[in-house]
Symmetry: C2
Subunit: 684 residues, 2 copies
């Protein structure tokens, strides 16, 4: 019987022919001659013998009658695969079906071996990943990290020449990490480049890729899409990205990001990704400064849309928001109410297949990505593929991602700003009051947070093709902060034990002019840091919470799926959920960079009534520790409140400033984020 773990080896060295050796313990698949491609079939004996030298394990591959792969093979091996492109989604759906329908692991292995050298490598990775996650006989496999199989989507192209040199010249034991330069995509002449560490952070891009992997907007099986509050989560996760990005901009003396609201304006910000697609053997195309969008007419991609289409969709969406209802496909009204309006809008604007009327409200957000990603070659005249905005693993590198999503968020806020403000009774938790907050790093000054640079190593050997085997590391620089602890004093005067839901946010105190912010502005910059339930005994309580416990982040090791360290065993419930757990904001980016002289912030804490907020469900083993932005697999979103509560609506009259907004169960403290321009090496 075939060992299902061997299937994971098929992800390695994605551009190499399948019969070359793989794995830590050198392993080859014994591929039937008839499975080889035309190039290798006539010399099967020679190439398979060469590949089999010095291997420790051979995996037999059964020769079966292979299903029709013409549709999956209709996407070229050298093309760039993107889920934003409907044709690519249909192709992927067909390949997933084929993998799902194989009767046994052994047959799945055969068809996967056969398909691997024939279909597009990124498509292969995606379809096999989805199948392994959903087949009952393979569900508990741990997929290798996307960043390790396709490192070229995350790393400067120049690093690969060096990795290849190191692998070719130096024997495995003597290899040194290759340092990825910090400043390779632009110069300081470009103010936008100050944000490189955020936009090009591997963890942030992996989070975004994971989010869209676990919340696909289309699938043959509707239940894969129809997750609890997924439309609202689309809104909230991206709203938080914009809030975080703006706080980073303030940390770099830049004003808030300008929404890209006029689709016919030139896009001021150019972006040159300086990355190669190893699959396509082409560079990711750049966008020059001041490039304009154009009507798309790309026959090969089956994309034929005008800018006018986007504008019409936007206008209809705004009309729905201002009328407070949408019209579904059968002409019925669906109210945009306080409870579900945002969820409906999320599905409609993204759009997912849950959109109530996609032929009328269109597909605004996805097509914004497509229009921007093809701005350099609107009609495929130059045979160019999409830019980084065309893929969820690369889009967040581009400054325009934030301009586009700031606009998408503005549309959502048109809805949110029309909801009634929360009243004091709605916000208050009778009998519960916060009497003190302190935030401190270990041994540091109270209420001062501290950021710096850190260098970490990542083994990229499994994503390299046609190089001698053995580990080879890239060393990259990322933002980091000293871990800190919240100490919260809560007075329970209710006379009984209570449960509170502790909600922690941070926002800059001042706007880009240095003026204290109005709450109606500041609420849009409120960054969620944590949310947790706490038991409140009668009288004074002191709650202590560590920054590493945050409900928005996952640990560094999990972001990078370091298979050698700190990971749960395959047969534990934690192991079962490991893939879903890849979704989560990277811990190293929990707080913004701050300024050398300190960025003055309001740290806000609210204790709401957990009895009203809680969802009764079993979360053990569900990897729910980054639920704020990612939800929990196969479970309800673990908070009954609107996402972003209490800042998702405009403040009530009289609460012009954050200080006036506070009810007794809330409190704020002045926190300063200080950045030190020093680099430390991560200890493994």
């Amino acid at each position: 019987m075939a060992n299902k773990n061997n299937l994971l080896l098929l992800f390695e060295h994605p551009n190499e022919p399948v019969f070359l050796s793989k794995g830590k313990k050198p392993t080859v698949f014994d591929v039937p001659d008839s499975f080889l491609t035309d190039r290798y079939r006539p010399i099967s004996n020679e190439v398979q013998t060469r590949a089999g030298e010095n291997v420790e394990q051979r995996i037999p591959v059964r020769e079966i009658s292979v299903p029709d792969l013409r549709i999956p093979m209709s996407l070229g091996r050298n093309e760039n695969f993107s889920l934003f492109i409907p044709r690519h989604r249909r192709i992927a759906g067909r390949l997933i079906d084929i993998f799902m329908n194989m009767r046994s692991v052994e047959d799945l292995q055969s068809v996967a071996v056969y398909a691997r050298d024939r279909v597009n490598p990124v498509l292969f990775n995606y379809a096999l990943s989805v199948a392994l996650l959903h087949r009952p006989d393979t569900q508990n496999l741990d997929l290798p990290a996307f960043s390790q199989m396709f490192p070229e989507r995350f790393v400067d192209s120049q690093v690969f020449r060096q990795l290849r040199e190191e692998s070719f010249v130096v024997s495995s034991g003597s290899r040194m990490p290759i340092v990825i330069p910090r400043d390779y995509t632009a110069s300081d002449l470009d103010p936008e480049h100050r944000l490189w560490y955020f936009r090009e952070d591997m963890g942030i891009n992996l989070h975004h890729w994971h989010w869209h992997l676990v919340y696909p907007f289309e699938a043959a099986d509707r239940s894969i899409v129809a997750k609890d509050r997924r439309g609202e989560l689309f809104y909230y996760m991206h709203e938080q990205i914009i809030a975080r990005y703006n706080m980073e901009r303030f940390s770099n003396n830049l004003a808030r990001v300008q929404p890209f609201n006029n689709l016919r304006d030139p896009i001021t910000e150019g972006y040159f990704p300086k990355m190669d697609s190893l699959v396509a053997s082409r560079a990711w195309p750049p966008r020059f400064d001041n490039t304009r969008l154009g009507d798309l007419n790309r026959e090969a991609d089956q994309i034929n849309l005008e800018i006018g289409d986007l504008e019409r969709w936007r206008d209809r969406i705004l009309e729905a928001i201002h009328q407070k209802f949408v019209v579904n496909e059968t002409g019925q009204r669906i109210e945009l109410d306080e409870a579900t309006g945002i969820d409906t809008l999320g599905n409609m604007i993204e759009a997912s297949i849950l959109s109530p009327n996609s032929s009328f409200y269109g597909d605004l957000h996805n097509n914004g990505h497509i229009f921007i990603s093809y701005a350099h070659d609107i009609n495929s005249k130059h045979l160019e593929s999409f830019g980084v905005m065309g893929d969820s693993s690369t889009a967040m590198r581009d400054p325009v991602f934030y301009r586009w999503h700031a606009y998408i968020d503005r549309i959502f806020q048109e809805h949110k700003s029309r909801l009634s403000a929360y009243t004091e009774p709605q916000l208050n938790y009778s009998g519960i009051s916060i009497t003190g907050i302190q935030v401190a790093t270990n041994g540091g000054q109270p209420n001062v947070l501290s950021t710096f640079w850190q260098q970490s190593d990542l083994n990229l050997s499994r994503g390299l093709d046609f190089v001698p085997r053995g580990n080879v590391f890239a060393r990259f620089t990322h933002l980091q902060h000293l871990p800190f602890t919240y100490t919260i004093n809560v007075q329970n005067d209710s006379g009984a034990m209570r449960f509170g839901y502790v909600r922690i946010f941070i926002a800059p105190k001042n706007d880009e002019r240095g003026q204290p912010m109005q709450l109606r502005e500041q609420r849009l910059m409120m960054v969620e840091l944590d949310k947790f339930a706490a038991q409140l005994n009668p009288g004074p309580n002191t709650l202590r919470r560590r920054s590493t416990e945050s409900s928005v982040t996952i640990p560094f090791e999990r972001t990078f799926r370091n298979l050698d360290a700190n990971r749960p065993a395959d047969n534990t419930p934690e192991g079962l959920e490991f893939n879903f757990c890849g979704c989560g904001w990277p811990q190293n980016m929990l707080i913004p960079k701050g300024l050398p002289e300190g960025l003055p912030c309001d740290l806000f804490i609210m204790v709401s009534n957990y009895e009203n907020d809680r969802i009764d469900q079993q979360l053990t083993g569900r990897c729910s520790d980054a639920a704020s932005y990612c939800g929990v697999k196969d479970r309800l979103y673990p908070d009954r409140r609107s996402m972003g509560y209490p800042f998702d609506r405009v403040p009530r009259t009289g609460a012009e400033r954050l200080a006036n907004f506070l009810t007794p169960n809330m409190s704020i403290v002045d926190v300063t984020i200080r950045h030190e321009n020093r680099t430390v090496q991560r200890q493994n």
Copy 2:
């Protein structure tokens, strides 16, 4: 004593460390530890031992005190080197000096080995090439072809992944050629793409690179620049490129190229080279459709110029032409006369260091290349290097090359059109008349030429880095034609033996509207096919000349410097001159493609009086067989007439059509060029 031939091995695998094996007979340099770079010095024993396995030859490298390389090393290893950039020229000059000044071949070998892993690889190739050509003790070495050391400048980036796969997976004896796709840079939606086979022809690009290598516009040693009529040759060689390009455009139902005469207009034609620089590990940047030039302010490149500077230089050049004199640096007038005016203008417009007043007339042509090549990143904000227009080995791929040179040519024609027309007595050769012309392919219809596609293989193994050794071939498709023979009947009624200079041109009969051309237009499309001296006995003479003998072309083998076939031995005079001989229009592009239904052309032949035209000099062993566009090394241009004669001036009054222009020593014949869309494999 060191063997100077070993120096040639230093050109191979330019991005690999110097101690790795090289050559057909596997060879390593035994590099002193102190010569290794910081990365390899601590593990010298390990890496040199590994590299030395299975080698057949070891070359000792003497440890010497190495000269100061700080200036050559100031250009980064990963940067793109270009002779168009003054800073790069200065850096190259310093390295050439260092190589020139080494006392012996052995010391040169030492410093070259030391420098190879420290300076930019393209800079190293250029500086060592120049030094080997000029040092008395290395002059007779044959440099390897640039296209084989840096194939990525000539070939689709996708081919390299395949070459790497073939080298890694398949043993040397079983490898198959990798086919370079014909249509990879654009689609047929782009009318300009019809010219791909011309713009992206390897031979044409190699010719252009060679031409600028043998006619540098700057050198510390002025005699290297001050070659006979080099300014005029700059004008003429490029004028012929435009004439040929326009004829190819007519062969593709396209109108003549529009000169890029308004520098502030957007450049309609975008270009996406789809090539990687393996040195820079970056793609060659594209230019989107409708990109505009901008003022350049690139500090790292020390380039700070306005579009206005180019316009002022152009206006001063035109003022000089219209006033018929230029003003040199000391304020003296230099007449722009019939004999030397064009040469002065050529040096002034290019500009070379021979320009009479470069601070006044500037550097128009070179800076056109620079402005265009940086249009995507005018101020280095995005840390981008130059596009293909920034290098002579890649510039001719880009449609804008022809628009720019059409404009440069228009400026030259402002001068030429002001010279007196040639009179009939000036043109005639008394007593000599042409009585008949026929052109025919072997066994073909008379006066019909035939073109088709051919596939040829090129070994790229020496330009690949970090792959197992052994030949690996790329198969590329290029235009080809059936060889043909001119049969020319010349009547000599002078009563004595005479010598004639036979000048053969071809031009389309009709313009882009299908109307017969006026000679004042048609003369600008006259493409030189051949020029040769012939003995004319009294009475009738029949001259036969094969197309392969053309004075503009070099054979296919020489274009590609196929080191294994048809090349002269090192110790023959032909061998001595082999490098210079790399300059020459590729034989496969001698005639334009034509049309399936036939492109109607005028084939023009003139027999002028060789006694008036000849230059008395020894040409044996001088590789003068492509002299029309390339001249002859260290010799005068072998024709006393103005280049392009008799079509370099506007026709005399009354000669509105070519037929009216003819004197008895001239004749024309209708020739049709037919293209068959079939592909044949080249026989080696």
